[in-house]
């Protein structure tokens, strides 16, 4: 029987770590992910897990030590947010090219400039080209469930890539919700042991990691990473299926909410999907308008075809980005979803709005306005604000 609990997102991830009992966790505190290493340190202090904690002096060293531990053959992970991830930047690329199945518990927070501790996706979106698998969550339940699937996906022999399990800072990480936890023995069985094929401490084989590879070999390593990322699509779905058999909770690349008959769709990532669902319920109840939501769970690998097929028959689509990329046009999600739609020759009108930067609230009313705009755009065929900011101060 599943265990009923009330946990914050950080508590849920820490509890998953306790159940997985990984080998090594180097971490450096940064708001709002700090609680995760704190909880793990407490489990260790009370003899509840065998994990070795490394009290590194920075996030760069956190990822460096995680990488060393993983290359050595251990199951290793870390947690961070925002500038912490920015300091790891170089290491994200090294981890991916070394094909190390590291798990990063990322609590999304805005990058500094000005300093801000609240949720947006500028940290992970900036790392979207680093070669990491990225899985996002709407709720505490989802981040817990995603975390349990992380090591089996990353360590799969056809994948061997690092993975970040993302949740929105404070909104998810600190908000306490009801949650269903999986029993310890089932988690152990689901996640299993790490048994790497090649590793530094292999008694039967010596290994060199992290070569200098010039133009005669570098490109092949990138192609290999690409193939692994392609394989990750299949493996993510396989793990979701295994997970569903264990818990009854179904996961895919994305969740479609009221999309069966929808004409107007919002595409979004993360916790704001919950607010969007509330707006959909209200609109459908009061007006009967056919509004729906496509909530992205897996952003890397990018499920291009699947997203395009799910959206192609919409009349109008609003893609909502919780981070800027300062192209002076699209945000990251906007650019990629729009490109996907081109492939299926969709006639849908598409706008790309920015919301929630640095933790700015987005409300049910904001979503109602978005759906109203979509309806008007579809009727008139005119787009006045292709790229707009939602909820800006008027003064």
């Amino acid at each position: 029987m599943a265990i009923r609990e009330r946990l914050s997102g950080n508590e849920a991830v820490a509890y998953a770590i306790k159940q997985i009992n990984p080998d090594v966790m180097p971490a450096f505190p940064i708001t709002p992910s700090t609680e995760i290493p704190q909880y793990v340190a407490t489990y260790i202090a009370n003899g509840e897990i065998d994990t070795e904690f490394i009290h590194v002096e920075s996030e760069h060293s956190a990822m460096s030590a995680t990488l060393g531990a993983c290359a050595a053959g251990a199951r290793a992970l870390t947690a961070t947010s925002s500038c912490g991830m920015a300091l790891m930047w170089e290491e994200l690329y090294v981890a991916a090219s070394d094909r190390l199945p590291i798990v990063l518990a990322l609590v999304n927070r805005a990058l500094t400039g000005p300093i801000n501790i609240n949720a947006d996706h500028s940290d992970s979106m900036g790392a979207r080209d680093s070669g990491w698998i990225q899985i996002y969550a709407e709720s505490n339940q989802e981040v817990y469930d995603n975390f349990l699937q992380a090591f089996p996906i990353a360590e799969h022999k056809d994948v061997q890539l690092p993975i970040m399990i993302c949740q929105d800072g404070f909104i998810t990480s600190h908000g306490v919700e009801n949650i269903l936890l999986v029993e310890d023995d089932l988690v152990k069985e689901f996640v299993g042991e790490r048994n790497p094929e090649h590793y530094l401490l292999n008694p039967n084989e010596k290994m060199s990691v992290g070569p200098y590879a010039v133009s005669n070999y570098y490109m092949e390593t990138k192609k290999a990473q690409r193939e692994a990322m392609n394989n990750a699509k299949r493996v993510i779905l396989e793990m979701a299926e295994r997970f569903e058999k264990m818990t009854g909770r179904k996961y895919g690349f994305f969740e479609e909410y009221c999309m069966d008959d929808a004409e107007y769709a919002v595409v979004i990532i993360g916790s704001a999907a919950g607010t969007c669902k509330a707006a959909i319920d209200e609109i459908r109840q009061t007006t009967g308008k056919k509004v729906g939501l496509l909530k992205i769970r897996v952003f890397r690998p990018f499920p291009e075809e699947e997203i395009a097929l799910a959206l192609k028959d919409m009349k109008a689509i609003a893609i909502l980005d919780r981070s800027e990329m300062f192209s002076a046009t699209s945000g990251p999600l906007g650019a990629e979803v729009r490109a996907a739609l081109y492939g299926v020759k969709s006639q849908a009108e598409v706008v790309n709005y920015f919301y929630g930067l640095g933790g700015r609230d987005i409300t049910v009313d904001d979503f109602k306005v978005v759906y109203d705009k979509l309806e008007k755009i579809a009727e008139t065929g005119e787009i006045t604000d292709m790229y707009d900011y939602i909820g800006l101060r008027s003064r």
Partner: protein, 311 residues
């Protein structure tokens, strides 16, 4: 520890850095690596770490590795943190019974990766007390990128970012004393050495560093013929002059106790060390005598300070 140092025996131990790597002829860094690895007991396994630098790009160029042991290079500034992750993994896997063998952990970095960009990562790894050795092969500049100054570069050295010129006498600042800074971390073992006639000093310090439980730091002056500007065949003379002028004193710090390894009978004037090197050529132009005097005074001051610590 070896009971008695036998040069012939030590030098005939199997090489753990295979020939065929691409380091320059006469490279001091390579001599450091070969001789530190000789101090590993033959039955022990090891994981060798490496900061980005000459050594890394020349010894593990895909698909060839020069290392007879497992080896990991990660990036420039994180050799300390990376190997601390490997060492921690070893402890966990050993505790869980997944590993039976004894492994030792040794990482190499140049002075760029150690004194400068990797300083924080080194300090963190030493403070945490991982059972590992950090070896700095100190050649006194960023040689891999073409002899730019580092905080290990001696004062007045002509480097590509502190060139001697009509308005410049080379590097303005005096060099950082990293071995002393590491000793201030209160780790169980710190050694400073270079190449002496029979390599006993380097060998015994490497063995102590490797086999002292806990964090150890070894600072090895490793001359670079290209960056310093001397004939490759002169390396042993250069090292001897560095030691006999007290520019590069040999000492160790064991559990906080400072021990002088060698005091020259005749302390030679610093200019004997400077003269054979192109990087100090400008100091011997007429009118620059004062600069050599300043440099000499700094060397003397540090030597006295060291003698006081070793009392």
């Amino acid at each position: 520890m070896a009971e008695k140092y036998n040069f012939k025996e030590v030098m005939s131990k199997p090489e753990r850095l295979a020939p065929g790597h691409r380091m320059c002829a006469g490279c001091g860094g390579t001599i450091t690596v070969r001789n530190v690895l000789r101090a590993l007991h033959e039955e022990d396994k090891a994981v060798i770490g490496n900061a980005t630098g000459c050594l890394e790009v020349s010894s593990y160029m895909y698909p060839y590795t020069a290392y007879e042991d497992s080896y990991i290079h990660n990036a420039f500034e994180n050799a300390g943190a990376t190997l601390s992750g490997v060492e921690t993994a070893y402890n966990v896997l050993k505790k869980k019974g997944k590993i039976k063998d004894t492994y030792k952990f040794i990482t190499f970095g140049g002075d760029g990766g150690t004194y400068d960009i990797g300083f924080q990562s080194l300090s963190g790894a030493m403070e945490r007390g991982h059972d590992m050795v950090y070896v700095c092969y100190d050649n006194g500049a960023y040689m891999n990128t073409g002899t730019q100054r580092s905080s290990a570069t001696p004062q007045f050295a002509d480097t590509t970012t502190t060139p001697a010129g009509s308005q410049s006498n080379g590097k303005v600042q005096i060099r950082k004393d990293l071995a002393a800074i590491m000793a201030e971390h209160h780790i169980p073992y710190v050694g400073q050495t270079t190449f002496t006639r029979d390599f006993k000093d380097l060998y015994t310090k490497a063995e102590k560093a490797i086999y002292t439980p806990g964090a150890a730091f070894l600072n090895v002056m490793s001359p670079c013929p290209r960056g310093w500007g001397y004939e490759t065949s002169e390396i042993m003379t250069i090292c001897k002059l560095a030691v006999d002028t007290c520019y590069w004193p040999l000492f160790e710090v064991i559990d906080g106790k400072w021990i002088l390894s060698y005091a020259p009978k005749n302390k030679l004037p610093l200019e004997d060390f400077l003269r054979p090197q192109r990087r100090f050529k400008h100091l011997f132009k007429p009118g620059n005598e004062e600069l050599i005097g300043l440099f000499q005074a700094e060397v003397d001051r540090r030597w006295e300070e060291l003698l006081n610590k070793c009392e």
